[in-house]
Structures are given as C-alpha cells and as structure tokens.
C-alpha cells in the first residue's frame, strides 16, 4: 500500500514538473535602457539624463563582439554625422540608416557614403543579433531591433531625418 502511495506521489510530482512552463518575457524596459547606453556611446551623446543608472540594466550588452561592433560604429559615426546633419542620411523605422537624399552628398563622395551606410547597417544587424545571443535568447533579435528602431529615432538630434511608422520621412 505504502509502495502505491509513494508511486502515485512520485507520478503526480513527475506530471506536475512536466506541466510547468517557464515563460521568459522580453525585458522591454531594460532593452530600452541598454539601447540608450549603446546609442550614447556610438553617437558620443553626453546629453542624456545622468540619473540613468546603467548598472541596473537587466539585459547584458557587453561581450567582446558587441564591444568591437560598438567601437566600429562609434568611429564610423564621426564620418556619418555631417550626413545626418544635412539630411542626406535618415534613420529608418526598422533600426537601420539609409541614404535617403543622395543629392545632398557631393558626387565624388557618393561611393564613400554608400559604403559607410552599408557597413553601418551590417554592424547594426550583427549587434542586434549579438545582444540577443549574449542574453541566451537568440529569438529576441526582432524585439531588440524594434526597441532600437524607436530609440535611434527618439534620440536623434534636432534636424535629423527619420521614417515614421508609415515610412514617410520626417524631420526632428
């Protein structure tokens, strides 16, 4: 009899365990803070509210690959900045950049800017995937990209161009 009770108890426990589903929700707020931290670094933006304590971010953004990508993007931004400023380059609504107004780039520089834009988008794509990967959730890549899409636009400087949700170019 005792054997059966033990057996049933173990079976119930087993069934209970097998029914447990652990849902890991995407930490959107933490991702926003993480995106801001990266944007600050890449755009060398010191204007952010200093009350943001990035140590509390519940999302890992630091890995050698992520650091290397941010370093490349920071160096590249120095070359891209004047094209953000004159409206040649705009921030797309899917977290990338685009040469939206080629006429604003001197013809001789057109190739150079095209190559910068291409390299920047390649790095951004890899960065979003890397953040998802270092947090152990490769499936978060789209969520991370979405967060970045809104943060790049939100943090853009006055006068920069961005795409709204309908894909229309707007000016900050």
């Amino acid at each position: 009899m005792i054997f059966y009770i033990r057996y049933i108890s173990l079976l119930s426990l087993g069934l209970l365990i097998s029914c447990v589903t652990i849902n890991v929700y995407f930490p959107a707020a933490a991702a926003e803070q993480a995106a801001d931290q990266i944007i600050n670094k890449v755009w060398n933006d010191k204007t952010t509210n200093s009350s943001n304590n990035y140590n509390d971010i519940n999302l890992e953004i630091s890995s050698p690959t992520s650091t290397a990508l941010q370093r490349k993007m920071t160096a590249r931004h120095k070359k891209l900045k004047k094209y953000y400023n004159n409206g040649a380059i705009g921030i797309t609504n899917n977290a990338f950049i685009m040469l939206r107004s080629p006429m604003k780039v001197a013809l001789k520089k057109r190739n150079h800017v095209n190559q910068l834009v291409k390299a920047e988008n390649k790095d951004r794509l890899q960065l979003y995937a890397e953040i998802a990967l270092i947090n152990g959730h490769p499936e978060w890549v789209e969520n991370i990209r979405t967060i970045f899409a809104s943060r790049w636009i939100q943090r853009a400087s006055q006068g920069w161009r961005y795409q709204d949700n309908q894909g229309t170019w707007q000016r900050k």
Binding site: P64, R71, H112, Q126
Partner: protein, 611 residues
Amino acid sequence: MKLLLLFLFYFYLNTSLFAFENLHLKFKIAELNVSQQDFKNIKLECKNLQYTTQLINCSNGYLHISSDLIDKPIIKLSFSYHLKTQQLKFNIEQLAIADGKINIQVKSINNNWQTKLNIHNIELTQLLNIIKKFIDLPSDFTMAGRSNLTINLNTKLQQGNKVKIQGLIRLNKGEIYIDPIYLNINKQPLNMAIDLSLQPKKLNIHNLHLTQKNILDLQTNAYFKLEDKFAIERLSIKLKPTYIKKLYDNYIQAMLEEDSIFNQLKLQGMIKAQLNWQSNKRHALIKLYNINVEDQKKRFGINKLHGKLQWHSNSQGYASHLHWSNAYIASSIKLGRSQLRASLIKNKIKLLAPFYQPIFDGAIKIQQFHLNNIGMENMNGQLRGEIKPISLSKISTALDIPKLNGNISGKIPWLNYRNQAINIGGRLKMRIFDGEIIAHHLSINNLLNNIPELKANIKINKLNLKTLTNITEFGEIQGQLSGYVRKLHLIDWQPVSFDAHFANPLDDAIRHRISQKAIQNLSNLSGNLAVNIFSNSILKVFENFYYKRLGWGCRLRKGICHMSGVGATKKGYYIVQGGRLPRLDVIGYNKSVDWNQLLNRIKSISNTSLH
C-alpha cells in the same frame, strides 16, 4: 498605348499672299498616353506654314505639352518635307528637360535617319528618372551629376527589321556616378563612337570605341542574344596601352574606400588589358609595363613592376608572371628583386613556383600556396612557407631604433583556410631576441568577416631581456625571460582572455641586473606596487641592482587581469625578488587590475619614457 483624342484641326488661308503660303496650322490633342505617362493639352502651331507641290515647310512653329517630364511646356520647332525627294527635316530647340536644355535635329531620307542631339547642362538623376518611366532598368542603376552631351547618330532601316546605327556620342563636361563608378569629365571630353546593328532578337556591336584623350582608349565588339534571356555570345574589350596614373586618377580612385590603403597612390608606368568572352570560355589579360607604385603615406611601394596577369575560365596554360626590381614596406623595410608565377583559372589561384622575397639579408619563402572557390561560401586553400633568418641589426637600423642583435626567422609548416577560418598546423617558430617565440594551435576565424577572432598558444624561450628592453624606453633589465601565453583569445584583434606568465628560466645563464629606471617603471605599472629597499635614498644612489628572480603573470577574464609574480609575500607577490645587498624587492599588492587601465598605464610609461 492608350490614345484619347479630342481632335481639332483647322487652317485658314491668308488671302493677301500667294495661295498655300502663310498657312496657319493648329493641331491639338487633348491627351496622349505613352507608357502610362500622360501628355496633356498638346498643341502644335505653325503660323507661317508654306505648302507647295514640292515642299511643306514650317520655319517657326511651337509645340505645347503639359507633362511632369518636361520643365517648360513650350517647345520651339521647325520642320520641312520635300515631297519629291521624301526628305524630312525636323528641328526642336531648347527642349527644357531634367533641368537642362536639348536641341534636336532629325533628317530623314529613304529609311535613313540622321539625328543630332545637343544636350546642355542636364541633370543626370532627373534624366534617369525620366528614362526609367519608359524603360525597365535595374533598381541599383543610378546616375548623378550635370553633363553636356552631343549625340550624332545615323540610323538606317534595313531588310528583316534590321536597324543599323552609327554615330558619335560626346560627353563634353560633367560628373557621372554609376554605382560604383565615378567620372569627372572636365579636362578631356569622353567620346564614344558606335557602329551597331539591332535586330528583333540580336544586337551586334561591330565597334564601340570609347576614348578620352591621353586617358583612355577602349575598343569593344560584341554579339548579344536578346531572346527571352539576355545572353553574351561574344564580347571583346581591349584597353590600349594607357598611363596607369591617368586611369587611377580618373576612374579607379573614386571607387576605392576612403580608408583603403590603396586610396592614395602615386603611380607611374603603362597598363594594357583585354577581355575575350565567348559562350564557352572567357579570358582576361592585364599587361603591366614598368610600373612604380608608392603609397603617399609611405606604407608600401614597389618599383619596376612588370609582367602579365591573366585569368581563364577553364584552361590551363595561361600563367601569370610578375617581377619587380625592389619594393618596401613600413617606410624603410626594403625588399629586393623578386618574381611571382601563378595561375588563375576559374575561381582558383595557385602558385606555380616557390615565391622568394628577399628582405635585407634574409627572405620570406612561400613554397606552396593555393586558394580554391574564391569569392564563394566554401573558399578554401593552403600555404606552406618560412622566414629565412633576417638580421635584427638590419631591421633596427632601418627602423631607427637601438641596435638589436640576433635574427628573426620562422616556419609555417602548413596553413589551412577553410570555412572562413585559418588554422596553422605544427608550430610557428620565430627566433628573436636571442631566444625563440613559438606559436601553436593558432587559428583565425572570420578573417574576411567583420569581426575576426584569433586563438593561439604562445611559448617564449629564453629571450634576452637586455636586447628586449634596449629597444624600448622601459629601462634596462639583464637576464633571460621564458614563459607562455596560453588560451590566447582575441576578438577584433583585442584580447578577450588568456593565461600568461613570464619569468626568468630556472637555468638562466645570464647575470641578473635591473636598472633604476626599470624599477620605477615597474612600480608605476600597477598602482599598488611597492619597492622594498633599505632606504629610498639607496635607490637613487645605485644605477643598477642585482636581483634573484623576476616575473609577472596575468590571467585575463572579463576585462580583469588577475596578476601574479614569482613568489608569494605575506600580502602580495614578488615581481622582482632581490638578492644581494642592497636588496631590492618589487612587490605587487593589487591582485586584480582592469585590463584597459593597465594598457593605459603601459602607454603612459612609454610616453613618459620617450620624453
């Protein structure tokens, strides 16, 4: 084509003059639709139309068209038609389009059309946008800039719907950007002479001659099939001997990335090239004549480069052969005369004879090299080579650093490239600073990708510390140094992790001395080092000190270097353990230091020492 026509046609006779002279012609079309483009309110008016039995002539007419495609709706025109000879002449003046002006002259007689177009200051992006409304072009095809163009074409309609076109297109001025080619035509016009036949399913280019005086002379003939699928049946392109400097300055430089090491070159010499394309084989050939290349930042240069580079789609027997009289790298590392023999077939490159490049009194020798599937996902290859001993004294003299003894040599038993990763088999050995550095289990991943990753183990055997410290401003240390860097992991050439330890070998045969300057620099290296000595004043008195043993270790993990030395003290570890009197110990108390901070300290010591 959709044609909606509201037709109004009338003329009236001015009775004061001869009959059929000074007619007033008015012709109106309400709307015309061509390739889904609307042309509205089309009016043709000629106030002084002559009409005789031999001639219809309008010398002062105008055409009015409302359309987004043109900048001004009114176009001046004149035309005449000889009834007997059937000769038609037609002139359009000042057609305002794409922010520029076009004059058109057309003359036709017996199926033979002569067309002259004079295009002034046209904006190519706008022109391309207009062309794209009528013709399907690839989406990434872009043109930009302003240009002046003259086009003279002779078009003949022949039997079998064959059209023969001959003519000359001259680009007089302007900039053109067709991704990724940038052309700036300001000094010399670009001329294109064409002679072609067009049939419904084939295009035969008998001759297409592109010239820019003293810059470019390119001749092409080709035969294309224009059936359901476009196909090149035959294509031949010949670049006549050209000054490589002119070609580079006018065509190549703007295509290179600004940061590319090839972006700022000084060039001399001539180049000739040829491409032959047939449906079953392709062959490209470049001949180089006495070319001198020099990077403006003096990073590299090559003199009297001569030979031919050729590629064939499938056949052997098309070897490439280059030779040069001398070259240099890093401003002053001189390379001697050498040559290279290789074959480039399909997507494979293979060294046909060992490559031997003399450097000072030594050389780099590549015994074997091949690379397959170039440009493809599964690109792979192998290399085997060695560095024949090069005297460090020669290198140090060239680099203007304190004189070094010994030599540098090495061996690459085999190097494999596969799946975007390089693996070096055996040991990569380098004899340097009277000792040796051996790298093994060396691999590089994602070499051609954005973020390369290197893994290796390195062993260091008995480097002469005096030789090593004498090339730096760190301060002289005597003795030998052995050690290792295990599990070295670099991402984007930055250290991520490693286990390193360097110390005097137990059988060190060289006497141990350390200079005062080296002690001070060691003390500054870690914020928390201490120097134990009888008296600080003694440190100032003596230039050099005897030491028993020195060493330092770092275990790098997550940006933190966990340090160790050559023996434990009560609270720390010995970096330098003193021996005879006056005994001197350098003790580290801080066991962990931020790697970037440590690097900054090393940089700051280097800077201070240099001053």
